[in-house]
Amino acid sequence: MSAASRLRIEALSVAYGESAVVHGISLEARDGEFLTLLGPSGCGKSTILRTIAGLVEAASGAIYIGDRCVTNPAAGVRVPPEGRGLGMVFQSYAIWPHMTVRENVAYPLRVRHKPEREISAAVDDMLALVGLSDYAGRNATELSGGQQQRVAIARALVFSPKLLLLDEPLSNLDQKLRLEVGAELRKIQVRTNVAAIYVTHDQSEALALSDRIAVLREGKIEQIGTPEEIYERPATPFVSWFVGKANFVPCTVERIVDGASGRRVAVTAGQGRYAVSAAAAGEFAPGEPAMLMLRPEDFTVGDDEPGIPVSVREQQYVGERRQYTGDFAGTAVEFTTERAVTLAVGDAVALRVVGDRGIVFKSAAVAALK
């Protein structure tokens, strides 16, 4: 990666009063990168974003935008929000109701005392980019949610900031519009080559849009990686559980294999024997009971070879696939099948695991999740 660092966060901690909400996190985003902060509500993701914006004060640590330090309590650096040159899209859109669409978008340029001709041209360009050219004269409050969203994006980008902050910008849209606007947002971000820090609690948004995802839990980063890394090689039970659906199947460690591609573990679960990746954290000993994390789509149904025996408890037809919940010695196991595979409640089947999928976690780590 030769691209310059656009945002650098070093050991950032934030506290509201007595209670710390962000605990010494470090992050970096490159020029043009789409980085998502993903986590459940209360994990501190919005606080981090607002600290980057200068709306919340840091307790310790430092934030650099480009080469410039904008936050560093120890050194007394605290650049106000208006001095940071950031674009930001708010969850509520924060469209000013007393202004037209054009006035809203023109505001950041007006503040900067740009000549009127330049403002007019830039606003026209931005409105064309977000597809709102026909709405320039409308009162901003007459627009639909999706349109207000675009106004907010246009306003955040009109002065060509190098860094764009997005605080759950899709959460107020309905499901269908969400995907559409999300894809459009990504397109605009790529075209303007702005680095974007995107906050969401929606894992499917995060997976679909991001270059990299930082999964947060209780003010700490659990894992940073590409969407593939996060989904396929989750570092902790929490990441696997929060991003996508996770089954934790009790298993026993047989032996440890240190290969070129990292540590691998051979485990038995039910009648099946599997060689799978071990979680990054924790040492395993042969004979140790552990937890094998498998996604619902990691299974196929076959009764010809040994596998994980389950009895079907619930079944649901969801269109493109069928979803089942099975019972494996008291553990609920969710799995999906082709439409064609029809199982009835009460059927006993053996589940096979596709390829080398699955990750072994320490039992205690999974237990702590519950």
Partner: protein, 557 residues
């Protein structure tokens, strides 16, 4: 909400008495402004009263004075009230809780008492401040003279500032902070954000209250009477009072015609403000946690400004308390300290009567008003559709027109009703008339939240309208009604301008007695009685807060 057919005559019977209580005096006032003799006396129709008023250069100069004093008082009140609300709602000013509690004092403290307190502090002869200044410099100059335009405007600004403070707390606290944050991130400085985002967004909420504050400044009686009259400063209201109560023979015609003109003007402007309030665009808040602005270096100047303004209300109250324990105003020699003032007001027959009357009037008028307010609001919300605009207009009158003008109208009506002229019952009827609009506003906002389904369910299960009201509606709205009762009680406990027109021997009230002692030069007795009155009003407020456990929705009074 569909009006029930068949029994709507019943609801008309319910709203008729309050409508008549208001409409008859208003009609009497207007009619008698076209007569050349007081009601009851033989006379003939004339336009001479209006001609006298409109052609008098003196009245025009009073008009100019009224306008400028009201404008100055309003400007001061708006800035101070908004500033205090902003400090409390949006900043990290130290001691915010104390500040938010004390900022209500200008709203609660009776104007009459604050004006008298200032007269004690800053009169040019023996005002405490001037005496102190002279003792320092051994000269005989004055630092302050509250018997002046500035004094009148300053003291007049207090209740309006308190009102604006209370009214703006909500809109300031509820405004979506992301609207400001996004402007900051767009590169705007806090002051630029205030000018381009906050101020335009708050304007719709602010404007109606600003208009009401201005009207209340024009209608104020106590402050110009105490602080303006001694310096020959006349505004409409103390001019009318002077023409009716001081001059001999009274200039009835001029006073009545001017009352009609001022009352009509006030009614029109208040109607416009009410209209603005209905149509105002609301900036919706949805559970925002308002981000508090860090004042940093501005902390000290902000504290000085806020507490400086509040001190201007607290100082005169302090002067009142001090004076109540001394023999003479202006001479606070420890040897002259005494409890005689309290002894006097608690043993003097007239004062005792005034205190008893005040409490009795407060209880009776508040209770009757809440009952009337409930019945009328219920009738207007659910049952009566016909003639709503006219009814609303009539019910607005006592709230819109100056209290003193209302007092004149009532006096002119009761003068010919046996048992009403100068009696307790006359003052009670006057208080009820004055309180109806306030009771309506407080109760209708409570009633509007009731779902008609609840009543319909009661009707379906066999209850008639009366039972439904008693068993379903009243228990649901009780907390709101108690809050309304306290709002009215506060209004009546310090009411002066209606009472001063209607009272007679035996029906004195505390505030009238205060004014009368002041006019007799009994300054220290005034102080003792003021202490009782202020303690009573504050006690009511604390009791109300305890009972309803929530700040009531205040109304301008």
């Amino acid at each position: 909400m569909k009006p029930l057919k068949g029994n709507s005559w019943l609801w008309w019977a319910v709203i008729a008495p309050p409508l008549l209580l208001i409409a008859v005096p208003a009609g009497t006032l207007v009619t008698s402004s076209f007569r050349d003799a007081p009601p009851g006396a033989t006379g003939s129709w004339t336009l001479a009263n209006y001609a006298t008023v409109l052609l008098s250069p003196h009245v025009w100069s009073v008009a100019v004075t009224t306008f400028w004093i009201a404008l100055a008082a309003t400007a001061l009140a708006l800035s101070a009230g908004f500033f205090l609300a902003w400090l409390v709602a949006r900043t990290d000013i130290p001691g915010r809780r104390v500040l938010s509690a004390v900022a209500i004092v200008p709203f609660l403290a009776p104007s009459l008492v604050v004006a008298i307190g200032w007269a004690i502090l800053g009169n040019p002869d023996n005002g405490i401040i001037n005496v102190f200044f002279r003792s320092l410099t051994h000269g005989n100059g004055n630092v302050v003279d509250v018997y002046s335009y500035g004094g009148v405007a300053l003291v007049m600004s207090f209740p309006a500032a308190g009102f604006i403070y209370l009214m703006m707390l909500g809109p300031l606290g509820n405004s979506d902070p992301s609207l400001e944050d996004s402007a900051r991130l767009s590169g705007a400085s806090p002051w630029y954000v205030f000018r381009t985002i906050q101020a335009p967004l708050l304007m719709p909420a602010f404007l109606p209250f600003a208009i009401i504050a201005f009207i209340r400044a024009i209608e104020a009686f106590e402050v110009p009477q105490i602080l303006g009259t001694p310096a020959g400063i006349y505004v409409f209201i103390n001019f009318i009072y002077d023409a009716l109560k001081v001059q001999t023979p009274p200039h009835y015609g001029t006073a009545i015609a001017l009352s009609v003109l001022v009352g009509t003007g006030a009614l029109l402007i208040v109607a416009v403000a009410a209209r603005l309030q209905q149509t105002r665009a609301t900036v919706t808040g949805k559970g925002f946690q308002p981000r508090r602005i860090k004042l940093r270096k501005s902390k000290v100047p902000c504290l000085i400004l806020a507490w400086g303004y509040l001190a201007l209300v607290l100082l005169p109250l302090g002067a009142i308390v001090l004076s109540s324990f001394w023999k003479l105003l202006g001479n606070y020699d420890p040897k002259l300290a005494t409890l005689a003032n309290y002894q006097f007001i608690l043993t003097d027959a007239t004062t005792q009567r005034a205190l008893v009357n005040t409490v009795a009037l407060m209880f009776c008028a508040s209770t009757v008003c809440v009952v009337i307010g409930c019945l009328v609001s219920f009738a207007l919300i659910r049952k009566i559709r016909f003639g709503r605009i006219a009814i609303d207009a009539v019910l607005l009158i006592p709230w819109a027109i100056p209290g003193l003008v209302l007092g004149v109208a009532l006096l002119w009506t009761y003068i010919n009703v046996p048992g009403m002229y100068g009696t307790f019952w006359g003052v009670l009827a006057g208080f009820i008339t004055l309180g109806i609009p306030l009771a309506m506003r407080s109760t209708s906002s409570v009633l509007a939240q009731l779902s008609p389904d609840l009543e319909e369910a009661s009707a379906v299960h066999g209850a008639n309208a009366g039972t439904t009201l008693r068993r379903i509606v009243v228990p649901l709205i009780m907390p709101g009604l108690i809050a309304a009762w306290f709002t009215l009680a506060t209004l009546f406990s310090r009411e002066l301008s209606v009472a001063v027109m209607l009272y007679g021997f035996g029906s004195e009230v505390a505030s009238v007695q205060l004014l009368s002692y002041w006019q007799q030069g009994e300054g220290t007795r005034v102080a003792a009685l003021s202490v009782l009155l202020v303690a009573f009003v504050f006690g009511l407020y604390v009791l109300q807060a305890r009972v309803t456990k929530s700040a009531r929705v205040p109304e301008p009074q």
